[in-house]
C-alpha cells in the first residue's frame, strides 16, 4: 500500500469543518474530542497513554510512523516499550504517514498496530491548519467518517473516563524497601518503572479504592483522562488522606484531584497543554525546567487554600504546574516528571518523593 492507493476518509469537526484525508489505520467511523500534541517523537508513548482516552489525537509533527510500532517485550510485569496495555486514543490524525518504517526495536508498522487495536488513522490532513483552528476556537468534538458510515459526535468529557481506564483489581509490583500505594486513574507505566527503580514496592489499586484500608509509606496519585471533578469518590478519599501525614505525590490528574480534595478549584483550558516543550519555573527560584505535558484541565492558583502554595508555574501562560502543602509532605505537578515521551529533566522529583517517604518512614518507625 502507498499514499495513492489508500482509501479516502473525512475528518469532520463540530463547527462544520470538513477535511479530506486518507486512511492508514482501522477502517471504522469514530468520534471523540480532538486535541493536538506538538511533540516531535514518542507517538507509541502517546497512543498508549490512558490520559488520551476518548480523544482523537492530532500530531503536529508531520512525519509519523518512521520507526514503526515497538516490540511487546515484558519487564517487571509491564510492557517494556508501551505506557499501558493498549492504544487509548479514538483515532490518529497526521499529515504524512510513513508506510515504511525502520528501527531495530520495531515489531510492526504503526498502521498494522492501529488495525490490530481497531483504531483508525488518517493522513493527508493539513494538521497545522487544524491545530490553528483548535487553538483559536478551543478544543472541539470531531469525527472520522468513512464513506456513508456516519457516526454521532461524542463528548468524552461528560463521562467518567477514569473508571474506564483504571485497573479493576489490586496488583503488586516489585519488592522494594518502601511501600507505595499507587492510585491508578489511568497510570502511565513509566511512573511504575520510575518508582520501582527507587527501591519501592508498588501497590497499584483502582481509582476508587478505599485508601484507608491500605498500609503504605507513600501515596502516589497517577495521571488520567478527563474532567477531574467527575472522580468524586477519589476526591472524597483524598480529603481523608490529607488529614494524615503520609507523603503524597501526584502527577497531572493527580495534581488536580489533590487540589480539589484540598478545596481548590479546577477549570478547562481552551485547548490544553500537550507537548514535550512546556517551560515551568519553580516558584520563588530561577530554576526552570522543560517538561512533558498532557492535560486539558488546570488548577486555579487563586483558589489554593491557605495551607497550600504553588510549586511550579508555566512560564508562558502562568497556569498552575504543581503545588505543595506548606507543612506536610504533599506535593504534585501538573506536568509529567516520568516523561515517556518527553524530556526527563524533572525525574528528580521521584527522588524527592522517595526521599520524603524514607524520611517519613524513618520517623514513623
Amino acid at each position: 500500500m502507498n499514499s495513492l492507493s489508500a482509501r479516502k476518509a473525512k475528518l469532520i469537526l463540530e463547527d462544520g469543518t470538513v477535511m479530506e484525508g486518507k486512511s492508514f489505520g482501522y477502517e471504522k467511523s469514530v468520534s471523540g474530542e480532538i486535541v493536538f500534541n506538538t511533540a516531535m517523537t514518542g507517538y507509541p508513548e502517546s497512543l498508549t497513554d490512558p490520559s488520551y482516552k476518548g480523544q482523537i489525537l492530532v500530531l503536529t509533527y508531520p512525519l509519523i510512523g518512521n520507526y514503526g510500532a515497538p516490540q511487546e517485550e515484558m519487564e517487571n510485569d509491564l510492557l517494556k516499550f508501551h505506557e499501558s496495555n493498549r492504544i487509548h486514543i479514538q483515532a490518529l490524525v497526521v499529515s504524512d504517514y510513513s508506510f515504511q518504517y525502520s528501527h531495530w526495536n520495531a515489531r510492526d508498522s504503526l498502521a498494522q498496530w492501529l488495525k490490530d487495536n481497531k483504531v483508525p488513522g488518517i493522513f493527508g490532513i493539513d494538521t497545522r491548519a487544524l491545530t490553528k483552528k483548535l487553538r483559536e476556537k478551543g478544543t472541539m468534538l470531531g469525527k472520522i467518517v468513512f464513506d456513508h458510515d456516519d457516526v454521532d459526535f461524542y463528548d468524552p468529557s461528560r463521562e467518567n473516563l477514569v473508571a474506564q481506564v483504571s485497573c479493576t483489581k489490586k496488583h503488586v509490583y516489585g519488592n522494594g524497601k518502601y511501600k507505595i500505594l499507587l492510585l491508578d486513574c489511568g497510570v502511565k507505566y513509566n511512573i511504575i518503572r520510575y518508582l520501582l527503580q527507587r527501591d519501592t514496592t508498588v501497590i497499584r489499586v483502582p481509582w476508587n479504592h478505599p485508601i484507608r484500608t491500605e498500609e503504605y509509606d507513600g501515596l502516589f496519585l497517577s495521571n488520567g483522562p478527563g474532567d477531574p471533578k467527575l472522580c468524586t469518590d477519589t476526591i472524597k478519599n483524598l480529603t481523608e488522606v490529607i488529614r494524615q501525614d503520609i507523603p503524597v505525590f501526584g502527577i497531572c490528574l493527580g495534581n488536580q484531584l489533590l487540589s480539589l480534595a484540598a478545596g481548590a478549584d479546577t477549570y478547562k483550558l481552551k485547548y490544553g497543554h500537550r507537548s514535550h516543550n512546556q517551560p515551568v519555573l519553580e516558584v520563588g527560584t530561577d530554576k526552570a525546567y522543560i517538561t512533558a505535558q498532557n492535560h486539558g484541565y488546570a488548577v486555579d492558583n487563586d483558589t489554593l487554600p491557605e495551607e497550600w502554595e504553588p510549586l511550579f508555574i508555566n512560564i508562558n501562560d502562568s497556569t498552575n504546574e504543581g503545588m505543595r502543602h506548606k507543612t506536610k509532605p504533599f506535593f504534585s505537578t501538573q506536568f509529567h516528571p516520568e516523561a515517556s515521551g518527553g524530556p526527563t529533566d524533572t525525574a528528580y522529583l521521584f527522588d524527592v518523593f522517595v526521599d520524603t517517604v524514607a524520611q517519613y518512614k524513618g520517623i514513623s518507625q
Binding site: L4, M40, T41, S102, H103, A129, N316
Partner: protein
C-alpha cells in the same frame, strides 16, 4: 533581571570565509552585536572580512578591519579598553585567538573579562585527552582509543577493542593517515605501513555505520538548560557532518533514544560549564541505544547556525544575552514575542541541509568525501514531507540538478560509488534504484538508514508512474498533487510526462504550471513559528509546501512590497558579498516605505535572519517558486540585481512572464550576458575587446587559434566564476580543456578569445540611473590579467594606473551605461596595456567587490542603486577617488589546506573561498594588513624562492635585494639561483624534490626551516604532478605561507620590508 554592568565589549569575528568557517559567523556575530547594542553596551568588532553584514554601519559601534591575531587584538584592547570580550561568535579563528590571549596573560593584563563560557571550559573541549577524561568523570562514553608505538601493541589493542577498528596516525598527509581494518590480518598490514612513516598510531574502535546525531544545547548562569534542536545525518558516521546531508529534527530516533541523548547533552554542558551555546555530536548504534560522544564545540558553529534557521530560535542572539548575564527564563521568544525563550522549539516541518561542493574547480583534488570537510557552502530546504524537502534541496544546490530524479547523469560503477562516497553519492543512489537495486542492497553498501532509502525509493516509484503517463491530460489530480507533495518541480513533471525537446522545455514546464493552477494544485505558505502553531506568532519566516490546504498569512493586493531575490548557496565565486548586497537592498526597500520580501535558502546568511525583512520566504530561487510567490504577493516589483548570478539568470525568464523587474531592463541584461549581442554592441560603440569567436568544431577552433596565436582563453558561455574556463598555451592543452568545457554545458558552444599577457586588469563598480552614470569606483588588480578577478588582490583607489587610462575607462563606462540604459548596479572589467583599453566583461548586477568599494568609499552603492530601482531621483555623486587619503586592499583567502592534493596555483578559474579588505595609509600598509589577515606571516628568517619564467624572475629582483638588505637568507632552486647570481644577489641552492641531494626544497619546508615560499608556475595552465607541485603542496600541508604570483610576491615582500609590525596603524574604520 540579569542586568549587566558591562559598558564596552569586544567581539572577535572569523575573518575571511574558508572551508569549515564560512558565512555562519557573519550571522552569529551580527546577532550577538545586535543583542548587546540593545542593552546599551558599546560594541567593538575586529574582523577584516569587509564583505560581511556585521562590518556594516549600525551593527557594531566600531569596526577594525585588522587581522584576528593575538598581536593585533592586543593592540586594539590596549586602545579601546573594553571590559568584556566575546570569543564564541567568530568560529575557530576567534576561539583560538582568545585562548592564545588568555595563555599570554593579555586578557588579565588589561582586565578584560571573557563573557559567556569560561575560557577553561573552552580549553577542556579543545584538548582531546582532557575532553575524554572530563567526560569520563561523569560516565559519558567517548570512542575507545589506544595509542601504541609498536606492531605488537597495535595487535594487542585490536584484540582489546574488538574488530573492526580504525588506525590513525598523528602525521597525516594526503589523507593517508587513517585506515579501516576488519580483522587482525588487515591491522597487521595497515599498521606496518603506518609505522613506516610514523612512530605512534592510535588504534580506535570503529563506529562506521553508526548514526550521527547532533544536539544544540544552551545553558544560562542559573544552570537552566535547553536543547534547541537535534539533527540527524543521513550519511552515517565516517562522513564529516559538514559533508553530510542532515535533517532536523531527527527522523529515525525513538522517544527513548532522542531523550537519552538529550539528557546526556545537558549533563555534559553542565559538567563542562558552558554559559551560552554548544554543539554536541554523537554516534548512535543503529542496533541498540549504545552511543559515543564524538565532539563538543563550545561555541556557535555551523551546526548552530543551521539549528537556528531550522527552528527559528535565534541561538546567537540568545547566547549573547546569556553572556551579558541574563537567564533563559528572563528572555522572550523573539518569534512569538509573548512566550519565553526558555523552551525547546517544536517543529511541524522537516528541514534538510545539503552541502555544496565545488571540487571541479580544483586540479588534482579527490572527489571522495569523508572525515574532512571540503564543501564550500550549504542549502537548507523546508517541507512537510522528506521527499519534498530533499528534492527542493537538491535543486537549491544550484549545480544543474532538478531534484532527486530527472537529471541526465550516468555512473559506471554504482556499487563502488555507493560504498566509497563522492560528492555525487545521492545521485548514485537514484541511479542504483533505477538499475533495480533494492533498499536492502543500497543500505548494505551505504549504511544509510533504510527509512531514508524507502523515502527516496518513493520518489523513484512516482517518477516511474509519471513516465508511464502519456500526457498531462492523462495525469489524474491525485497523482499530480502527490507528485507536488513529493517535491517534484514543474520541470520534472514536464520531463517525465511530456518529455519535450530541450529547446521546448521552458514552454513545457509553464504548461504544467498552467495546468496545475487550473486544477487548483498550488503550494501554500506556512510559518516557522517555533511552537508548531500552539501559540499565535507574528513571524515573518515562511516556506511553501504542497502538504497543506490553507495559507498561514494574508496577502495584500496593494503593490507595496518589493521582492529581493537572494544569492543562494555560498560557493566559489558567490558568497557573503552578495548577502551584504541583498541585506543592503532590503534595508533601503524598507526605508522607502515598501514591505521588504526576500527569497533565499542559505542558512549561513544574515539575509535569512528573522529581523532583516518584512517577509522571508526560505524557499527555492527557481522560476517556478519565484512565480508562485509573485502570484501571492503581487509585489510592486522584483529586484534581481543584488543576488549574483542566480537571480540574474532569472531576469529574462521572469520578464517573459510579465513580472516587473525593477531597475535595468532584463532585455539589457540579456544584451550584456549574451556574448554576441554584447560584442556587436561594443563594436557599434567603437569600444575595443579581445578578439574572440564562438566555435562548435575542433577544426574551426584550430583555424581561429592559428590566426590569433597562443595563448588563448577558452570558456563556455553564461558563467559566473569561470567553470572550465582556462588559458591554454599549446595544441595539446587546447584539446584537453575543450573536452572539459564540453562537459560543463553541451547546449552552449565554446568561446575562444585572444589572451593578452602582462596586461593590467582594472574594474569599475558603478551605479547608473536611466543610463546616466551616478557614481563609480575604479580599482586595479595587483596581479596581471590571467588570475580570476575573484582570486586577484584588488586595490582601491588604484595607485598605479595612468590618468589617461582612468579617463578612458570612465568614458567607456558612460557609453555602455547609456547604450544599455542601466538603472542600478553594474560592473565592467577591463584590460589595460600601454593605455590600450579592452572590455573583457560586463555584468548588469552587483558585483563581488561592491561591499569592498562601498565601505572604502563610505558610500553604499547598493543603497544608491536600490533607491534608483525604486525610481527615486538621485543626483550624481561628486565624491572622487582622489578625495581618499587612504588605500583599500582586498585579498583572497584560499582553503587549499582542506583540499588534499589540490594544486594551490591560481588561474582564470576562481579558487578562493573568501576574502578580506583592509585599509592602510598607503598601498604597502594596506596590502600588509590584508595579507596578514588571510594567514600570511612576516617571515622571521629564511625564504625559498623558485621564481619560474624569466619575466617573474625580473619582477622579483628588487624584492630579493630588499630581503637581503633586511638580513634574510634566501634559498633558490637551480634556475632561480643562476639568474640571481648574474645580478649579484646571494642565494643558497636548494635542490628540487626529485633530486636526492641536500639541502632539498622539501626538507626546508617540512623541517620548517623556511617561513615563506615563493613558487611561480612556469606557464599559465595548471601544472602536473611535478617538482613545482610538490613544493607548493608541501608548503600548504606544512602551513608555510606560499605565494604563486610574482607581482603579489613582490608587493608583499616590499610591504613587510618597508613596514615593521609595530608601525602598522591601529585605526578603526570611522577614523579614516
Amino acid at each position: 533581571m540579569g542586568k549587566t554592568s558591562l559598558k564596552k565589549v569586544l567581539l572577535l569575528g572569523s575573518g575571511a570565509l574558508k572551508i569549515g568557517e564560512a558565512g555562519e559567523f557573519d550571522y552569529s556575530g551580527s546577532q550577538a552585536l545586535k543583542a548587546l547594542r540593545e542593552e546599551g553596551i558599546r560594541t567593538i568588532l575586529i574582523n577584516p572580512n569587509i564583505a560581511t553584514v556585521q562590518t556594516s554601519e549600525k551593527i557594531a559601534n566600531r569596526i577594525y578591519f585588522h587581522p584576528i591575531t593575538p598581536y593585533f587584538v592586543e593592540r586594539v584592547i590596549e586602545r579601546e579598553k573594553p571590559d568584556g570580550i566575546l570569543l564564541s561568535f567568530g568560529g575557530q579563528t576567534a576561539l583560538n585567538c582568545g585562548i592564545e590571549l588568555f595563555k599570554q596573560g593579555i586578557l588579565k593584563k588589561y582586565d578584560v573579562r571573557v563573557l559567556g563560557t569560561p575560557i577553561q571550559a573552552i580549553m577542556d573541549t579543545e584538548d582531546r585527552e582532557f575532553f575524554v577524561n572530563k567526560l569520563k568523570e561523569i560516565d559519558v562514553k567517548t570512542p575507545r582509543s589506544i595509542a601504541v608505538t609498536s606492531l605488537d601493541d597495535a595487535l594487542k589493542a585490536g584484540g582489546q577493542l574488538g574488530y573492526p577498528i580504525i588506525i590513525r596516525s598523528a602525521f597525516t598527509l594526503g589523507g593517508q593517515g587513517s585506515a579501516f581494518c576488519s580483522g587482525e590480518e588487515e591491522l597487521k598490514e595497515e599498521a606496518s605501513k603506518a609505522f613506516s612513516y610514523t612512530d605512534q598510531i592510535l588504534v580506535e574502535e570503529s563506529l562506521k555505520g553508526w548514526k550521527e546525531v547532533e544536539y544544540e544545547v544552551v545553558r544560562d548562569r542559573f544552570d537552566n538548560c535547553i536543547t534547541v534542536c537535534n539533527m540527524e545525518n543521513l550519511d552515517p558516521l565516517g562522513i564529516h557532518t559538514g559533508e553530510s546531508i542532515v535533517v532536523a529534527p531527527s527522523q529515525t530516533l525513538t522517544n527513548s533514544e532522542y531523550h537519552k541523548l538529550r539528557a546526556l547533552s545537558i549533563r555534559v554542558i553542565r559538567h563542562i560549564g558552558i554559559v551560552g551555546e554548544c554543539n554536541i555530536q554523537y554516534a548512535l548504534d543503529p542496533e541498540s541505544e549504545n552511543y559515543r560522544v564524538i565532539e563538543v564545540n563550545a561555541r556557535l558553529s555551523r551546526s548552530s547556525a543551521l539549528a537556528s534557521k531550522a527552528t527559528g530560535y535565534p541561538l546567537a542572539f540568545v547566547a549573547a544575552k546569556l553572556a551579558a548575564g541574563y537567564g533563559l527564563h528572563q528572555l522572550k521568544n523573539a518569534v512569538t514575542k509573548t512566550t519565553t525563550a526558555f523552551f525547546e522549539p517544536a517543529l511541524d516541518y522537516i528541514v534538510c541541509k545539503i552541502p555544496r561542493w565545488d571540487l571541479n574547480k580544483f586540479e588534482g583534488v579527490s572527489h571522495h568525501i569523508g572525515s574532512s570537510m571540503k564543501s564550500v557552502g550549504e542549502v537548507m530546504a523546508i517541507g512537510r514531507t522528506f521527499e519534498e524537502a530533499i528534492q527542493k534541496g537538491l535543486r537549491m544546490i544550484g549545480q544543474g540538478m532538478h531534484g532527486f530524479v530527472g537529471n541526465h547523469l550516468r555512473f559506471d560503477h554504482i556499487e563502488k560509488e555507493l560504498a566509497e562516497p563522492t560528492d555525487m553519492r545521492i545521485f548514485v543512489i537514484a541511479e542504483a534504484f533505477e538499475k533495480g537495486l533494492s533498499v536492502e542492497q543500497i543500505h548494505k553498501l551505504t549504511k544509510i538508514d533504510k527509512w531514508f532509502l524507502y523515502k527516496l525509493e518513493n520518489i523513484i516509484t512516482l517518477k516511474k508512474e509519471l513516465e508511464a503517463t502519456p500526457s498531462l491530460e492523462a495525469l489524474d489530480n491525485d497523482k499530480l498533487h502527490e507528485a507536488k507533495i513529493q517535491g517534484f518541480s514543474d520541470f520534472q513533471i514536464a520531463r517525465f510526462v511530456t518529455a519535450p525537446a530541450p529547446e521546448r522545455m521552458e514552454e513545457s514546464l509553464l504548461q504544467v504550471r498552467t495546468y496545475r493552477k487550473n486544477k487548483n494544485i498550488v503550494p501554500y505558505v506556512k510559518q516557522i513559528d517555533t511552537l508548531a502553531a500552539e501559540y499565535p506568532a507574528r513571524t515573518n519566516y515562511l516556506y511553501m509546501t504542497y502538504s497543506a490546504r490553507e495559507h498561514d498569512i494574508a496577502f495584500y493586493d496593494d503593490k507595496k512590497s518589493v521582492i529581493v531575490l537572494g544569492s543562494g548557496a555560498y560557493r566559489i565565486g558567490s558568497s557573503v558579498e552578495f548577502d551584504w548586497c541583498g541585506v543592503s537592498a532590503l534595508h533601503t526597500v524598507e526605508e522607502k516605505g515598501y514591505r521588504s520580501v526576500i527569497i533565499n535558502y542559505n542558512p549561513e546568511t544574515v539575509s535569512t535572519d528573522y529581523d532583516i525583512s518584512d517577509r522571508l520566504y526560505f524557499d527555492e530561487l527557481s522560476l517556478e517558486r519565484t512565480l508562485d510567490i509573485i502570484d501571492l504577493e503581487q509585489p510592486h516589483g522584483v529586484i534581481v540585481s543584488t543576488g549574483g548570478q542566480i537571480p540574474n539568470n532569472l531576469a529574462m525568464r521572469l520578464h517573459s512572464q510579465k513580472v516587473k523587474v525593477l531597475g535595468t531592463s532584463p532585455v539589457s541584461i540579456d544584451r550584456a550576458e549574451n556574448r554576441h549581442k554584447f560584442s556587436s554592441m561594443l563594436d557599434t560603440l567603437g569600444v575595443d575587446q579581445p578578439q574572440w569567436k564562438e566555435l562548435t568544431s575542433m577544426s574551426d577552433i584550430q583555424e581561429f587559434v592559428e590566426r590569433i596565436g597562443f595563448p588563448v582563453l577558452i570558456r563556455p558561455s553564461y558563467v559566473l566564476s569561470g567553470a572550465a574556463m582556462n588559458v591554454v598555451s599549446n595544441p595539446e592543452e587546447l584539446e584537453h580543456f575543450l573536452k572539459l568545457a564540453a562537459e560543463v554545458s553541451k547546449q552552449y558552444p565554446v568561446v575562444v578569445s585572444e589572451f593578452i599577457q602582462e596586461a593590467k586588469e582594472i574594474e569599475i563598480d558603478a551605479v547608473a540611473r536611466h543610463g546616466t552614470l551616478i557614481t563609480y569606483a575604479i580599482s586595479e588588480h595587483v596581479e596581471f590579467a590571467g588570475v580570476h578577478s575573484g582570486d586577484a588582490t584588488m586595490v582601491f583607489p588604484p595607485q598605479k594606473i595612468y590618468l589617461e587610462t582612468i579617463r578612458r575607462i570612465k568614458r567607456i563606462t558612460r557609453e555602455i551605461a547609456r547604450e544599455l540604459n542601466i538603472s542600478g548596479p553594474f560592473n565592467i572589467q577591463f584590460l589595460a596595456k600601454d593605455n590600450q583599453i579592452k572590455v573583457i566583461e560586463c555584468n548588469l548586477r552587483a558585483s563581488r567587490s561592491m561591499p569592498f568599494v562601498s565601505k572604502v568609499l563610505k558610500v553604499n552603492l547598493i543603497d544608491l542603486a536600490t533607491r534608483i530601482m525604486l525610481d527615486e531621483e538621485v543626483a550624481p555623486l561628486e565624491k572622487s577617488i582622489f578625495d581618499l587619503d587612504y588605500v583599500g586592499v582586498k585579498a583572497p583567502q584560499f582553503s587549499f589546506s582542506r583540499l588534499q592534493l589540490a594544486d594551490p596555483v591560481l588561474g582564470v578559474d576562481m579558487s578562493s573561498t573568501g576574502e578580506v579588505g583592509c585599509i592602510g595609509d598607503d598601498f604597502y600598509e594596506g596590502i600588509l594588513k590584508a595579507m596578514l589577515s588571510v594567514g600570511y606571516h612576516i617571515p622571521q628568517k629564511k625564504i625559498l624562492l623558485s621564481t619560474g619564467p624569466a619575466r617573474s624572475k625580473v619582477e622579483l629582483i628588487n624584492s630579493a635585494r630588499a630581503l637581503l638588505a633586511k638580513g634574510y637568507t634566501l634559498y633558490a632552486t637551480r634556475g632561480t639561483k643562476r639568474f640571481y647570481d648574474q645580478y649579484g644577489i646571494k642565494t643558497k641552492l636548494a635542490y628540487w624534490p626529485d633530486e636526492e641531494k641536500r639541502p632539498n626544497t622539501l626538507d626546508l619546508i617540512r623541517n620548517r626551516e623556511v617561513d615563506l615560499v615563493v613558487n611561480i608556475p612556469k606557464n599559465l595552465s595548471k601544472g602536473e604532478l611535478d617538482n613545482d607541485y610538490m613544493i607548493r603542496r608541501n608548503a600548504v600541508d606544512f602551513n608555510i605561507p606560499l605565494i604563486t604570483n610574482a607581482r603579489l610576491a613582490s608587493a608583499f615582500i616590499l610591504a613587510f620590508c618597508k613596514y615593521k609590525p609595530e608601525e602598522i596603524s591601529i585605526l578603526a574604520w570611522d577614523e579614516y
